[in-house]
């Protein structure tokens, strides 16, 4: 048994961390928070130059053909740095969708561009304040035209194309839509985390290129989300770790009543709990990474486990990091809220904790029925 990343993978991780330390100190997300840029273009360029956007893309499509464990290493560091870039939308969602369901032609058309960062892709599912289901998708795909409205679409204001979930006569389907083309209106919307831009995207007969089998879009979306869940979870884990490090550092240096606040059990035990949640999340996330890399049948369960534990850990760490900092912690000028905002955003982008818990138990029930059946047979 070797339940750990390889030395090479760890080196890549260190490389990513060192790069982000210098290229993405918290002043960078803060710049996006306070300014009008949708994302940090120079940081995005740096990430592209390091070929992180091509890690999971095979060489024949212009990628560097590493595995998912490598991508997980990078994801964890991007999360730690609260990086304000469209990496997750373009890599975890758009690239993965095309890798999973794209025709040879589509792969040739999009993957090299995605790898080279010449195209930014995203995934458009949500239609406002409702839980998306296979049945309630109001966006339509008819005769190669997409009509409807998606809200919010992550990076929808900056992406070049989106993979849109739309209902066709055959059922839910995925369509690739050029967001710069005709029949598309989009406007940025304010979210809980201004360091990651989102948009309301309106489609009025926008040309949509079918991705995967028509009518099988929902199953496809599910498997794309399972895979993406692991990668988002790695980002959540990185952010959660960053909160713990901040809290520990502050608790050692900040004095009250003549002693470091870290010597008070109210703080010590809070941070011990933070550490424990992070370690449990880490174990679940690594398991998800293993399942993703090895294409194991455990993936749906492992992905849900990673997603749930990382969401819970980051929620706890980001809110109690503020609490540990006291007054300064809830000021706009302090960095605590960058993590608190990102934590909430990441917990929602693939659907809420509630949905993922339900999803986990559903898979576990299937497993149990399966093993019961096979036992009976």
């Amino acid at each position: 048994m070797n339940f750990d990343f390889s030395d090479a993978q760890k080196m890549l991780k260190t490389q990513a961390r060192d790069f982000l330390k210098s290229a993405c100190p918290t002043t960078v997300p803060r710049r996006i928070l306070d300014g009008n840029e949708p994302y940090a273009a120079e940081l995005w360029k740096g990430i592209v130059d390091l070929e992180f956007t091509g890690i999971s893309i095979p060489e024949q499509y212009g990628g560097i053909g590493y595995g998912y464990l490598e991508l997980c290493c990078v994801a964890e560091e991007l999360g730690r740095a609260v990086a304000p870039v469209p990496f997750s939308s373009s890599v975890y969602l758009a690239t993965e969708a095309i890798l999973a369901a794209g025709s040879e032609e589509q792969k040739k058309k999009y993957l090299p561009q995605l790898a080279a960062g010449k195209l930014i892709g995203t995934f458009a599912l949500a239609e406002g304040a409702k839980v998306p289901t296979a049945k309630n998708q109001e966006t339509k795909l008819e005769g190669g035209k997409v009509t409807g409205e998606k809200l919010p679409v992550p990076d929808g204001d900056v992406a070049d194309f989106a993979i849109v979930v739309a209902s066709s006569s055959r059922g839910p389907s995925l369509a690739i839509v050029d967001l710069k083309g005709s029949g598309v209106k989009r406007e940025a919307v304010a979210t809980i985390d201004p360091t990651r831009s989102h948009a309301r995207v309106h489609f009025s007969g926008a040309p949509g290129e079918l991705l995967g089998v028509e009518g099988k879009g929902w199953e496809l979306k599910e498997s794309i989300f399972d895979r993406a869940a692991v990668l988002y979870a790695m980002e959540q884990l990185g952010g959660s770790d960053a909160c713990l490090a901040m809290s520990v550092d502050y608790a050692k240096g900040r004095y009250a009543f003549g002693r470091p606040i870290g010597s008070f059990q109210a703080i010590k035990h809070k941070l011990a709990d933070m550490y424990i949640k992070n370690e449990l999340a880490r174990a679940n996330c690594y398991y998800g990474a293993w399942a993703l890399q090895s294409g194991a049948k455990e993936l749906p369960v492992a992905a849900a486990g990673a997603r749930i534990s990382a969401t819970q850990a980051y929620h706890f760490a980001s809110k109690e990091n503020i609490q540990t900092h006291g007054g300064i912690g809830f000021t706009w000028e302090h960095d605590c809220h960058l993590f608190y905002r990102r934590s909430k955003l990441l917990s929602l982008v693939l659907g809420s904790l509630h949905s993922w818990k339900d999803r986990l138990i559903t898979h576990l029930e299937k497993q149990a029925e399966g093993s019961a059946a096979s036992a009976a047979a």
């Binding site: 949500a126 409702k130 919307v189 809980i192 003549g258 002693r259 929602l348």
Partner: protein, 413 residues
């Protein structure tokens, strides 16, 4: 046991209602309250309207009901004040602007100022003409207030004050403030403090707003550069500043308290409105379970307050209920805000209520609640207070007692 007024009480309540119907700006819309991000946009108007309303109340004998007439009060009872507050809460009137002045500064002046000063300052405070603020916390002294550093040095009949205060609500529209300073850093930390009231327009006082996570600016930093304060404005003896501050904070514990919306009412309404799967979210057992937890907490706080009111009406002094209200209420609001956002799945991230009409309140609460858990006594400090003052458990081991202030370790600060 009953929730009814005594005959006198109900007569008074009736009288209050009649007056409010005639003079207040109409009833509040019922149903879940709408969240107010409280940016400083339009704040000046708000303060003006608050002053007018306070003056009107005062003329009608509803200003500061429980204060003696000679200090601008109505010479009424504690219970009448409570009844008035209950009734006023149902109307659309500007509130909150005078809480610190009337709740903390007034009482401390009554205890420590000389008669002349009281007759000079309290009536204009009661009438809302002069707003007061409280200058206590410092960057280095939050939970550990007595660790404050702001220096007051004697200079003839005056004191020269230098330093910085923080988390001062309303400093930017306050006419006066109460201030605790350190006059001798070589004495033990609790012994070297001296307390004053001052004119916020004094030369050398500079006020800067603090922006919170939520985007709101409810607080200020206040900088003191060679600010002159006459010794006649000292409250309590030289070196008695800690006792004076404690009396003030006791009043704060009562002033602080009930955390606003969103609370059970709002999350209950949301779960009936939004769908989870094929049915309203409230039909999910998971949602019902959380709702029930919040309901009994919210009811527990409402009814604990009712028990306090009962004690007040008997002239007893209330206990630590206010601490409980803030401690439980702050965490509750953070959970409710987070949960409310989760119910909308991806759309839960949207903050802008123009984009998603009827939403945004829970997201705002998610951003505002961390402040509630810290301001006016952090969760941790409140637990200490309950453990030590209510349960009489021993205090933390202190390493900062009986040591000259300037020899107490401060780390990086």
């Amino acid at each position: 046991m009953d929730f009814n007024d005594t005959q006198q009480e109900s007569q008074y309540r009736q009288q209050v209602r009649t007056w409010l119907d005639a003079n207040a700006g109409g009833l509040k819309p019922t149903g879940p309250s709408v969240f107010d991000a409280q940016t400083r946009r339009g704040e000046a108007d708000y303060v003006e309207r608050a002053k007018e309303w306070q003056a009107k109340k005062t003329d009608a004998g509803y200003g500061v009901i429980q204060w003696p007439k000679e200090y601008g009060g109505a010479g009424g009872s504690q219970m009448q004040a409570i009844i008035y507050r209950e009734e006023e809460a149902r109307y659309e009137v500007p509130a909150g602007v005078f809480d610190i002045g009337l709740g903390m500064c007034g009482p401390v002046l009554m205890m420590y100022a000389d008669e002349a000063t009281k007759r000079r300052l309290l009536p204009s405070m009661a009438r809302g003409q002069d707003i007061w603020c409280q200058l206590f916390s410092e960057p280095i002294a939050g939970s550990d207030l007595a660790g404050l550093r702001t220096r007051a040095q004697r200079d003839g009949d005056d004191w020269i004050v230098n330093g910085q205060k923080v988390w001062t609500s309303g400093a930017h529209y306050s006419r006066y403030g109460i201030l605790v300073t350190r006059h001798d850093p070589t004495m033990a930390k609790h012994k070297g403090l001296t307390f004053f009231w001052l004119d916020m327009k004094s030369p050398g006082v500079e006020v800067k707003p603090i922006r919170q996570i939520s985007g709101a600016s409810n607080f200020n930093e206040v900088f003191f550069t060679n600010v002159r304060i006459p010794d006649s404005q000292r409250l309590g003896e030289v070196g008695e500043g800690w006792q004076v501050s404690i009396t003030t904070l006791m009043n704060e514990r009562l002033a602080v308290g009930t955390v606003g919306a969103p609370d059970f009412k709002e999350i209950f309404a949301l779960t009936r409105r939004v769908a989870l799967g094929d049915q309203p979210a409230i039909k999910s057992a998971a949602v019902r379970s959380r709702l029930a937890d919040w309901y009994v907490e919210a009811e527990g706080l409402r009814l604990t307050k009712a028990r306090t009111m009962t004690r007040l009406s008997r002239g007893e002094t209330p206990g630590p209920e206010a601490s409980i209200a803030k401690l439980v209420g702050g965490v509750k609001q953070q959970e409710i805000g987070s949960f409310g956002a989760d119910l909308l799945e991806q759309a839960g991230a949207v903050l802008d209520s123009d984009v998603l009409p009827g939403h945004g309140m829970f997201q705002q609460a998610y951003l505002a609640s961390p402040g509630i858990r810290i301001a006016g006594g952090s969760d941790e400090i409140l637990r200490n207070i309950i453990a030590e003052r209510v349960l009489n458990l021993p205090g933390d081991i202190r390493v900062d007692r009986d040591v000259p202030y300037n020899e107490i370790p401060t780390g990086k600060g």
